[in-house]
Subunit: 221 residues, 2 copies
């Protein structure tokens, strides 16, 4: 679920605008930002570093991105433009477990986790990074909701299930340990997180109440 | 559940060593660190700021704490020495909801949330802060486990319930939104998080498997 911000070698999302020099520049800057975040973290990321690493002139960087905050936010925006879709295993139980396992696989490996972790950390210091992170995850979780709508179609979940709350519940115990309590995560913890969300779905905890405000996910965008 | 790192006016835990000048100095430094984190965030916190704010000489600060990292870690250690205990409402459902509501109340108010949020952010940049944050939450959640052991005594949960996993599950959807997806939290979301954990307990998701590794909380300290 986090491939695009983990893998600087993935096809550049900017190449949607085919062959464009602008798209290539944007992707080069994104790659340099990811490398810089992974190696040094947000507080040490400088325009000078990105210029040297990307081969894009500092003047261009300042003109197009304004500075480090803008480049980090744009790298996250680009990460959100990939074609990732959630797993489709044929059951809600399987899909939720697969989603949770993707989180553990993505963040369990320190090398792959460094850049996305730095994005989460950058949001504590940069309001623009925080906005970009919010949008990134809003879109990610929106795509994940498909596993719940398929479950509704199969009769595995009530039609009134708040899909956004369910898919957030699956990641939440993992992100708590990765980013707050700093505890290890593994496959059995992933399964537990998925199974807990499934049990809560079955118990009707995530059922949207008609006429009442939705209690779960409230994407602002 | 987070009172001590939210409220710089709480009785100084260091005063355990009664009347000690050392304890007073430690508390003064802690207060300055909390104010600095709340007002400026971790990257802008300097020894100079703490010296001016606390009235403790820079030389003393460097000698006793080494620098900003050490002062932040010690402020977290001090926060963990308070006498907070989890709610006791008479039922597991009530206790879990009360725990979740404490998180929302503590972090829903930007003024109260600033310092503890800065601690979470600091852990992305400082290994010592990350260790201190890990210890703080390990101890916090250890205290929370009491709500599960009381529930076991009342026959509300299986004796094999992994209490650490349950109490982490209650906070997780809230911390996800506060620190990762940057979405609002409120009382109904708190209730939902608590009810989901309760449903998963009832379904046996958090049952420790005898003879198998514990899948949930694994405190290292």
């Amino acid at each position: 679920m986090n491939d695009s911000i983990e893998d600087p070698d993935a096809p550049a999302p900017g190449s949607r605008r085919p062959g464009g020099r602008t798209a290539r520049t944007r992707a080069a800057v994104r790659d340099a930002v990811l490398t810089g975040l992974a190696e040094h973290g947000y507080p040490s990321l400088t325009v000078e570093y990105v210029a040297e690493r990307s081969g894009v002139h500092k003047t261009t960087l300042y003109r197009r991105w304004g500075g480090v905050e803008g480049m980090v936010a744009d790298a996250l925006d680009l990460a959100g433009e990939d074609s990732w879709t959630p797993p489709d295993t044929g059951s809600l139980a399987g899909d939720l477990r697969a989603l949770a396992r993707e989180v553990v696989e993505g963040f369990g490996d320190p090398a792959r986790a460094a850049a996305p972790t730095a994005f989460v950390g950058a949001a504590f210091q940069s309001p623009r990074a925080a906005d970009a992170l919010h949008s990134f995850y809003a879109e990610r979780f929106r795509r994940c909701e498909e596993v719940v709508s398929r479950a509704v179609d199969r009769g595995e979940a009530p039609a009134t299930t708040d899909a956004g709350a369910v898919v957030r519940a699956v990641s939440a115990p993992l992100f708590l340990r990765l980013f707050v309590t700093r505890e290890p995560v593994d496959g059995s913890l992933a399964d537990q997180a998925a199974d807990a969300a499934l049990a809560a779905v079955a118990a009707g905890v995530y059922t949207r109440r008609t006429g009442a405000p939705v209690t779960g996910a409230r994407n602002k965008d």
